[in-house]
């Protein structure tokens, strides 16, 4: 393609090792939070995800928050889940996001609503994540909607998906990842990695299937600031593998925050060397302000120019 609409895609295509992070939009309609969060991240990361009502808790819409953060100069990645919108709403949002200049979309199934505060909500799940990827890809590459309706001005999205190296059943998860690639996923952000050995094994399987050559793999890193946060992830968050040794290490630490940063940087140092890993994705839930520190300590600052 000629001019890149997605700078994230451009960096990856040019062979850069990318650093992404995450921004949780506010529970509220205020602009200030987003402005502050954006200012803190500017220059440190190559792309910022905005979660889509993560853990099924109502927050400002991913697209609206991403648009405002983009105004502050960040490259944004919208998250789109199939939990809350059907094929009509999803496609409509993709058109709107693209028109607003948002050209990266992470397509997800979404956490079940039982994790949030609206446990009595009716879920949608009209499409699954593979189908969503295919639908968006067809919109982009063929200029058609799922209904077959052609568009005069198709959207553009650099399409991503999630992959969880720690979920079961292992082979079926791999089959699904392969389906996502075939459906049009160009990059993957993985579930948070604490068990590096298991991630290394998973990457072997990814390479065996050549998936790393067909899509960019960004390794998920979730810096934990306290023993409580780590335990919660082990016990309450779906699809996480937190080894006991790590919990013990955090327990012994004099300064848990400092240790949390150390652990994150150590994990980054290991995963970045794994063949096929093309970037990292930082998701310090509830501790976003630590992102620049980790980027610096991991040796990723300053970020290279795009060209």
């Amino acid at each position: 393609m000629g001019e890149y609409l997605s700078l994230l895609e451009k960096r990856l295509d040019k062979g850069q090792f990318v650093v992404c992070s995450e921004m949780g939009p506010p529970i509220g309609a205020g602009l200030k939070t987003i402005k502050n969060k954006s200012a803190a991240l500017l220059g440190y990361v190559d792309g910022v995800n905005v979660t889509d009502n993560q853990t099924a808790i109502v927050r400002m819409s991913s697209i609206a928050a991403a648009y405002m953060a983009k105004q502050e100069g960040l490259e944004m990645i919208i998250q789109v889940t199939t939990r809350d919108r059907n094929r009509i709403g999803l496609q409509s949002d993709i058109l709107g996001a693209s028109a607003l200049g948002l050209h990266n979309a992470l397509c997800l199934t979404g956490d079940h609503q039982c994790f949030g505060m609206d446990t009595g909500a009716k879920n949608v799940f009209d499409l699954d994540s593979v189908q969503l990827i295919k639908v968006v890809n067809d919109m982009v590459t063929k200029g058609v909607l799922l209904s077959g309706k052609e568009m005069k001005a198709p959207p553009y999205m650099f399409i991503g998906g999630a992959a969880n190296p720690f979920a079961d059943p292992f082979e079926m998860q791999m089959i699904k990842m392969e389906k996502k690639v075939k459906a049009g996923a160009r990059f993957f952000q993985t579930q948070a990695i604490y068990n590096v050995d298991r991630f290394v094994e998973w990457m072997k399987e990814v390479r065996k299937r050549d998936l790393h050559k067909k899509a960019y793999i960004l390794a998920g890193i979730l810096p934990a600031r306290s023993i409580k946060a780590l335990k919660m992830m082990k016990e309450d968050i779906a699809g996480m593998d937190v080894p006991d040794e790590l919990i013990e290490r955090m327990e012994k630490a004099e300064d848990p925050e400092e240790e949390g940063v150390k652990v994150a940087v150590e994990i980054i140092d290991r995963v970045k060397k794994v063949e096929g890993v093309r970037g990292i994705h930082l998701m310090p839930v509830g501790w976003e302000k630590i992102t620049p520190t980790i980027v610096e300590k991991a040796g990723f600052y300053p970020r290279p120019e795009v060209d």
Binding site: R83, R87, T109, D111, H112, C114, F115, N123, F125, D126, L127, D128, S129, V130, Q131, K134, V135, L146, A162, A163, N164, F166, A167, D168, P169, E171, M172, Q173, I175, K176, K179, K182, A183, Q191, A238, G239
Partner: protein, 224 residues
């Protein structure tokens, strides 16, 4: 079968506040008898509880009971026509279909539900039932080795498990099997894993609730 469970007594009593002299508690001899919620045994137990309640409340209410073979066929309702007609109020211990069918047959009567109609399920242990079918109207069980992703996966995913599947269990509840783990193991055991290797198109939900209330006519028997 249709699996149902009894509402809490307080909720039932709340529905029976009005002024009436004769209450008919009507059970159903089919699904809800098997799911131990609205058969003859449960009807009699309910009559006992409500008798106690009314006498404690100082109310004069005559309680009648019947349990007919099926509430979803007028044929069986009509066999007990007089009993229904003589009641001032009917407490139905049938499923939601039964409640509405009684209302259609006796539009002058008020019918209130004693059960919550839960799901289509099978008996998995004594006194335990589990959902197996959602009634989507377009069966795909051939493809998935006889394990339904629409009913057994909490998110009805057609292309594989979500990232919340761990050690065979669903992210929604650690005691609920991951539907995709079941599908995967089943397809593996019958050497049919290739069934789920390829992309599965978005489902046409028109045959489900999304086409509006459903009806069906058998052309051989119906008058259509």
């Amino acid at each position: 079968m249709i699996v149902a469970e009894q509402k809490k007594l307080e909720e039932i009593v709340e529905m029976l506040k009005g002024d009436f002299k004769t209450l008919l508690i009507s059970g159903c001899g089919t699904c809800v008898t098997v799911s131990l919620s609205g058969g003859e045994r449960e009807v009699e137990a309910m009559a006992g509880l409500l008798n106690m309640h009314f006498s404690q409340a100082g109310r004069q209410v005559k309680i009648e009971t019947n349990t007919i073979k099926r509430h979803c066929d007028f044929e069986f309702i009509d066999e007990a026509e007089e009993e229904f007609k003589n009641a001032d109020l009917i407490l139905s211990m049938a499923c939601g279909v039964g409640v509405q069918h009684l209302v259609e047959r006796f539009p002058e009567k008020v019918v209130v539900p004693a059960l919550n109609t839960s799901f289509y399920g099978a008996t998995t242990a004594i006194g335990e039932w589990q959902e197996r079918c959602l009634g989507c109207g377009d069966c795909v069980l051939d493809k998935y080795g006889g394990v339904c992703p629409v009913a057994r996966c909490s998110k009805s995913l057609l292309n594989g498990p979500c990232g919340g599947s761990q050690e065979g269990y669903c992210e929604v509840d650690p005691e609920t099997d991951c539907g995709w783990e079941l599908i995967f193991k089943r397809l593996q055991s019958i050497n049919m894993l290739e069934n789920v290797m390829e992309y599965d198109e978005p489902k046409n939900w028109q045959t489900f609730r999304d086409g509006g209330p459903r009806k069906m006519r058998n052309k051989e028997y119906g008058n259509g």
